[in-house]
């Protein structure tokens, strides 16, 4: 036995076992660790050795002292994963900010006209066969990058929506709701993020819109809310104004 105690090869399996422990401990230099990781995937016996060390060393985990992370951490995690700030749909708060929206009605109209002008909302929605006034809503929310324009044509009993910004992913969908004062939100179904969606309206929905219901969009799980109530965060909302 030489004085050089490099154990590779000298002790056969001892070399690999020590290396597996070094791997778990994070002591291998980056290139070596990468090469070792490749071996682990290819060699079940080595994988078992790593599992052994990880399992036994994890008994030391008790020595990590827990410490509460800052309160804002979870919201930050959700932002990283899911995008926009996550405020749950609060119907009372929504109605409470109505005064602000009435002031923004003109701005909303301008957005809507722009949307028509750039072809996002089809002009024929605006030139229907009836003289009934149309309702237009610009949908948005604080802390959210989602913007929609909604145009309601009473003669067709249809709501045309166009997403101007914001997106979903393979884990989420946008769901549209109308909300009457002091009533629960009622789903109008899913709306597409970057295209035009035409939503057919029930008589009840038509009546509600004519009487000043709000429109709101939440980000729900893929396929929409499973039970007809909003669960995801509010991403856009607005009150239709007559034009």
């Amino acid at each position: 036995m030489t004085g050089d105690a490099d154990t590779d090869g000298m002790f056969g399996d001892g070399g690999d076992s020590a290396r597996a422990a070094e791997y778990v401990l994070g002591l291998l230099p980056e290139a070596e660790a990468g090469a070792f990781a490749a071996r682990i995937v290819a060699e079940p016996a080595l994988a078992a050795e790593v599992a052994f060390w990880q399992s036994r060393l994890s008994a030391l985990d008790a020595e990590f002292e827990p410490a509460a992370p800052p309160a804002r951490t979870y919201a930050a995690i959700e932002r990283r994963l899911f995008g926009a700030r996550q405020s749950p749909l609060n119907v009372n708060r929504l109605w409470g900010s109505l005064g602000l929206w009435r002031g923004l009605a003109a701005a909303g109209l301008a957005v809507a006209l722009l949307a028509v002008g750039i072809g996002v909302v089809a002009p024929d929605i605006w030139h229907g066969t009836s003289d009934l006034p149309r309702l237009v809503a610009s949908l948005q929310a604080d802390g959210s990058d989602v913007r929609f324009v909604a145009v309601y044509d009473p003669s067709r009993a249809e709501l045309a929506l166009a997403g101007l910004s914001g997106s979903t992913n393979d884990q989420s969908d946008f769901e549209l709701w109308f909300i009457e004062k002091d009533k629960k939100p009622v789903s109008l179904g899913l709306v597409a993020a970057a295209e035009r969606t035409i939503v057919g309206l029930t008589p009840e929905a038509r009546r509600a819109l004519a009487e000043g219901a709000l429109l709101a969009i939440t980000r729900e799980q893929k396929g929409g809310s499973p039970d007809g109530a909003p669960h995801g965060p509010l991403v856009a909302a607005g009150q239709p104004v007559q034009i």
Binding site: S17, L27, A51, S58, P69, R80
Partner: protein, 179 residues
């Protein structure tokens, strides 16, 4: 906190259940943040790291099978490895290192692999059979994320000596743990 609860929350997180992910965070974030604080030693770095770790947990929850690891030790391993990567300034390649932890154990399994086996010698007991400085070095690597260079400096020996000491200590530990 019941192990079965955490395992089931991880499984539901793998199915993209956000309520389960939130509950998992509530139950485990203090421990994982503690890991970050200890290894990174700097609060704002630890805050960044813990967020990145939970992003990884969300993305990789499907890799946690009811395999050789307890759910808490899997989470802590994700946290430790992430902190080590930050410490060493590593970028993308390190992500693949974690993949090696997820390979199900198909080869010859030492009986001591199963957590909770009462017949297995404990790491604490076996560490006590080593010289104090050697045991401290093992702890320093696992708990503080010290590199060989840092360990050598802490113990005031040349780098190669520390490597030799530690490898010999690991072999002794293996013998002790295998009894």
């Amino acid at each position: 906190m019941a192990t079965a609860d955490i395992a089931s929350l991880i499984a539901r997180t793998a199915l993209k259940d956000r309520a389960a992910f939130s509950a998992l965070y509530q139950l485990t974030s203090a421990k994982l943040f503690g890991v970050c604080l200890r290894i990174l030693r700097e609060r704002s770095e630890a805050e960044d790291a813990v967020q990145e770790i939970y992003v990884k947990v969300w993305q990789r929850a499907d890799r946690f099978a009811a395999g050789p690891y307890s759910p808490m030790s899997w989470l802590i391993a994700v946290a430790r490895n992430h902190c080590l990567d930050r410490l060493r300034g590593r970028r993308a390649p390190a992500a693949d290192l974690d993949a090696a932890y997820d390979i199900p154990d198909e080869g010859p399994t030492p009986e001591q692999t199963t957590l909770g086996s009462e017949t297995a010698r404990s790491i604490e007991g076996c560490l006590e059979t080593l010289e104090t400085a050697r045991a401290d070095a093992v702890r320093g690597a696992y708990l503080d994320g010290q590199s060989y260079a840092e360990l050598a400096e802490t113990h005031n020996v040349p780098l190669n000596t520390m490597r030799t000491w530690l490898r010999r200590s690991l072999i002794k530990l293996k013998e002790c743990l295998s009894q």
